[in-house]
Symmetry: C2
């Protein structure tokens, strides 16, 4: 039986957003799912919205631990002890400490780490949706698990139509520290540095600051848990960032130090993958001044479609004191001029990119 | 004569992107504009695309210095000496050192600082557009200038349809260090910290990292100039950021330190103004799974418009290994559910926000 066909009798521990969403998604695929939560109300809610039934006498073949990160190591260890025939996985965004807790039970061969990477951070079973993870990466860390155990967990990610990525736990934790955890902390630090400014001064902010600080509006509690579990990789990354900032602070020529850092940063930004895993394309921006009334955006995109130009990305920047917005359409470089001309012909005002 | 009506005989020094764009914009408004550049080819190009004519015998009433930031203080001082009847302004993104250079000539009463804040950083006269600054902030720092001098410069910003913001040079420099210069450096430092990762690990990057590092792809040379001119305000901000990062590195409880920083950052992010200068709205995201083929986006927005829901912002996230994208429409909280239902009825797949 391949992973694609393998539908384990699955028990989910934790009926929050992640656990409930996994439950709804697997039930929709015809899996036999049960779900429980220490909070009786959360459990009842999850069961009532179709995230799974009540655990009965049959021992689960697969246990998915979906409790907060800080509780995950002990709940995983407890699940391995409680159900000696079951494969156990979890969904926390840090993997090595949980693998260590699993190994310490002597049943590490039945533990497989998972990290489903949903796009946004919400919470609560009420927000659950069966396709929460669809088209997003689901990292699987086999650690010391048997290949059969890994297949059971891959089948979950496959059923939920995820983009499966398999890697070692330590490599995962080092990677997410740099691509996710430290950027979160740095974004908050950039935002916190606005503290001394008056409101009028903050109003000078442009799209750059908005981009850098967008993730700074995240849930502090969840990030505290993640920081505790991934402390060493997070601190190593923060030290890297502090070192680069100190080099600028202490440089004899601050301009030279900034040039060096920006050049190194550009090389790394170019490695962040774009569409479909291909190298990132240099789309050409076409910026249009759009009156801020309903229906303008669809009219704009309709005219782009009419000339056959595919819009690869859109950014919208609202003007702080005027009733217009600047909408930037990112298109193939070879089509940008044609698009700008067609829009101008249709009385759109093209602004600078 | 009000600033709105005041069309000075204007001479522009520097025929790069900014100088040429200002020239084109003023010529389009019927101003008498001349433009020159130390690079004869750049000057000819600017004149040929309508950014201004050749300086003749008539002394300019207004001189706009649009040379690279590092050269601006000396060129401003020289202009004040050369044309004793002219008001002089400049367009550099740092203002206090230039005001000091102007004052040192003894003609500070004829110098007014300007900082037109274009959205993106490009360069070269070829990219010039008359509406480069339209609907964007144009900061004016009067310093020791007479009110008549200030009126001449306000008239430029008014003619180019900018959002005029008047403030003192030192306050401007402190503000842009925090809203622009330090975020640029921090974004580059976050990007540079990806250095130790393998390409497969960088591929775990989500929208958060892309947002934080978007501005890290900027031009190093221009930022080196800016860092040199605004060194003390930049370093003060970087020190603020280093201090917050060190608190996390050195905390007994890294979770508590992260919670504190994120909470402070959230308060600041809430101060960044949103649409039309009103406090930022909490739009509700509706995320849709969109097949990556031309025309889907316009179809999606058309259906949103058909139910009368105004889309306030859009973010598009491409799935690295699948032929679909996740498009998030940000709408009024009261309309989100209705929009999601209407889209579902039309066979769109709604994903988690």
């Amino acid at each position: 039986m391949t992973a694609q066909e393998l539908r384990s009798r699955t028990h989910i521990l934790g009926a929050g957003l992640i656990g409930s969403s996994v439950g709804i998604g697997l039930v929709a695929e015809g899996w036999d799912v049960t779900i429980e939560d220490a909070d009786a109300q959360a459990q009842t809610l999850a069961q009532s919205i179709g995230a799974g039934g009540q655990l009965g006498a049959a021992e689960p073949e697969l246990v998915i631990v979906a409790v907060p990160p800080s509780a995950t190591p002990s709940v995983v260890a407890h699940a391995l002890d409680t159900w000696p025939g079951a494969v156990v996985t979890d969904v926390a965004s840090v993997k090595a400490p949980i693998a260590a807790a699993a190994d310490s039970t002597g049943h590490g061969d039945r533990y497989v780490g998972s990290h489903p990477m949903a796009g946004r951070e919400l919470s609560g079973g009420l927000a659950a949706q069966g396709d929460l993870f669809k088209a997003r990466p689901w990292v699987i860390c086999p650690n010391g698990a048997t290949s059969q155990a890994v297949e059971r967990v891959r089948a979950v990610a496959h059923a939920l139509q995820c983009d499966i990525v398999q890697m070692e736990a330590a490599a995962h934790d080092a990677a997410v520290a740099r691509v996710s955890h430290a950027p979160q902390v740095a974004a908050s630090a950039v935002a916190a540095a606005l503290g001394p400014l008056h409101a009028d001064d903050v109003a000078l902010a442009g799209q750059g600051l908005r981009d850098v600080t967008r993730i700074a509006a995240s849930d502090p509690k969840m990030w505290a848990d993640i920081a505790r579990l991934n402390r060493s990789a997070l601190i190593a990354t923060i030290d890297h960032i502090i070192g680069d900032l100190e080099d600028i602070r202490d440089a004899d020529d601050v301009g030279e130090a900034v040039t060096d850092l920006i050049e190194r940063g550009r090389l790394e930004v170019a490695r962040i993958p774009g569409k479909h895993g291909r190298p990132q394309r240099a789309w050409t921006p076409v910026t249009v001044i759009v009156p801020d009334v309903p229906g303008q955006l669809v009219r704009l995109l309709g005219e782009a479609a009419a000339v056959g130009v595919n819009v690869e990305d859109i950014t919208i920047e609202h003007s702080p004191r005027q009733p217009v917005g600047l909408t930037t359409l990112h298109v193939l470089p070879s089509r940008a001029e044609e698009l700008a001309r067609a829009l101008t012909d249709n009385n759109w005002e093209i602004a600078a990119p």
